[in-house]
Symmetry: C2
Subunit: 179 residues, 2 copies
């Protein structure tokens, strides 16, 4: 089976602070023309900071689209042209005030490939040195510590629902078991 689509036309519907929305026309392998709604996103990083006591440092934040508080790993968008490892170092410092002696790349994930090009890079941060946080003035978040196995349990109970957090925690578990 042929698996391709060809961009025929593209127009920008909305160009915002975080996302850009494009409405494209694409040709399918059977010659049909179809519409493609695409959200362009700068991509980001998520960091799993594991402290010397085997606890994961997580953050609780109000997430406006769900209108509720969500437990997540520290994370953030890439600045324009920023390397994702540099972004991981920056976000770890800003959100939880830590630096990592060892920063292990866990791979990336496509958050929602059907309509959005957001790619998230995941890191495991070990050998932490902790200091004060430097959150943005308009960023409200609460730092928590959860034992690693307890976080896996909360994922399995569907109490932790953030996709990048689920992917990074379970990937780190597999990584640490194989190391």
């Amino acid at each position: 089976m042929e698996l391709w689509e060809k961009k025929v036309e593209s127009s920008t519907i909305y160009d915002g602070a975080i996302i850009r929305v494009e409405l494209d026309q694409a040709e399918l392998p059977n010659g049909t023309l179809t519409r493609r709604e695409v959200v362009r996103h700068p991509g980001g990083v998520a960091i799993l900071p594991l402290d010397a006591q085997g606890r994961v440092i997580t953050v609780r934040q109000f997430r406006y689209p769900f209108y509720t508080v969500v437990t997540e790993l520290p994370a953030g968008k890439l600045d324009p042209g920023e390397d994702h490892r540099d972004a991981a170092v920056r976000e770890l410092s800003e959100e939880v005030g830590a630096t990592a002696g060892e920063l292990i790349y866990l791979g990336s994930m496509y958050a929602s490939p059907g309509f959005c090009d957001e790619e998230l890079h995941m890191y495991l941060a070990l050998d932490l040195t902790e200091g004060p946080c430097h959150p943005d003035p308009d960023e409200f978040l609460e730092v928590e510590r959860v034992p690693f196995d307890g976080l896996v349990d909360r994922i399995m109970k569907n109490e932790v629902r953030d996709g990048k957090t689920i992917a990074a925690v379970l990937r780190a578990k597999e990584y640490l078991a194989r190391r």
Copy 2:
């Protein structure tokens, strides 16, 4: 720390076939007003079909936002008002032509809670009966079979990058280990 935001104003920027884009103004706990770009999405399901030989049935599809072919679990959006278990049964039949004797809920994930309200429900499908697929005429996909452990290996090598696939496969691994 107070964790809330209050919707002050909302306007719809784009109302499309899959997504609706809203631009809201929200009040933060410090009184500041901020803009919130929100993508509304119907939500969806992803199914991990595990056959009698211990192989996972995956699909390869061209994903326009990344302009490349992506390996994923069978998945799809919810129809309006559709129960997510019914959607899992429907998508499993449409995309891979299978029905499941046992359909186990693995929990849900927020694909990208910073800007989008998409929630994906994940299912493990066992005791499969296989028949012909019924894809949409404009849906081009290739069905593959990958041994479960091989799929975990591909995730760990960063060869499988779809977020829902990573989350569901690693969650199923944990689920099966605990069962």
